[in-house]
Symmetry: C2
Subunit: 178 residues, 2 copies
């Protein structure tokens, strides 16, 4: 939730995920608010489309803060926003939050799926054991020797390909892929 998807910037101001996304997206290429709306909708396959009542005021606010500017007021009276140098600096700091969010989101995911879990005991247990092992390792030794890391990767890759071999691929609709 908010605690998971929002964070405090270096000035102590509370920021939401959308702020982070906006700056990141505008860094890549100047866009209009509407463009970003559609971009998000498509990237998430319709799972999320920010409210217009959120995104437009937010863009205005970020402009006022000097993180973005209006590049041109193009056709159809649309405003094309562009990230500023200060915006890029801010993004650099903020984007570290994306990692944290991601980790938190994954924990949150377990919470959700536990609601419709029920059964599947053995497989779930094994999976959790693997997870715990990897998490413990990361916690206790954040700096891992490349050599050891490669070994772990090889093991996991093998596991993954083995699983893919066994799992029927008829479950393809809904589209995978990023």
């Amino acid at each position: 939730m908010a605690s998971i998807l929002s964070f405090l910037d270096k000035a102590g101001k509370s920021r939401g995920f959308l702020t982070l996304y906006l700056l990141n997206s505008l860094k890549e290429k100047p866009k209009s608010g509407y463009d970003i709306l559609i971009e998000i909708k498509e990237k998430t396959r319709g799972a999320w489309m920010p409210s217009k009542g959120t995104i437009y005021p937010l863009l205005k606010h970020l402009k006022k803060e000097g993180f973005i500017t209006v590049k041109t007021t193009g056709q159809r009276s649309k405003s094309i926003f562009e990230i500023t140098l200060e915006g890029e600096k801010e993004l650099l700091v903020m984007s570290k939050e994306a990692r944290k969010m991601h980790g938190k989101l994954m924990q949150f995911r377990d919470l959700i799926s536990s609601i419709f879990a029920e059964g599947q005991g053995d497989i779930a247990n094994l999976f959790f054991e693997i997870r715990d092992l990897l998490l413990d390792m990361r916690d206790s030794s954040p700096e891992l020797k490349t050599e050891k890391k490669d070994e772990l990767i090889k093991i996991l890759e093998r596991c993954l390909s083995d699983l893919k071999r066994v799992v029927p691929m008829d479950r393809l609709e809904g589209g995978r892929e990023v």
Copy 2:
């Protein structure tokens, strides 16, 4: 965000994830608000702990709605909440939302991780791929043939033992938490 973690119940009332979690958790076993607070904190390894200012008023509200009752006012003046029959009925409907949330959350995850890009082959990414595959499978085919199940278990067991071989066991326990 809210659109991802909140939903409309059959009466059209907006509900948050916490409502769903509360009912689900109380169905399993009567608990106090504080118990649930700690339960969530531990289940998510510290990634999320609902605000007291959220959970207590919510419990009160659910009680008023008749979905839960106070079983006993135990020691330390704590209230032990218990789900009612009506609450279970409501939960049955609501829990279908958990599945949808899960799917949306996964799309959202891609959006977040796109911010810190990250090349493939990373340990975390591999792990998530494995998890996604297992979860997808569970979602799409809840009834798994024993034979196939055994194969999956064998693969995971092997992965686990391989990992244990590589990971040094000097990683004693210690602080969890984020």
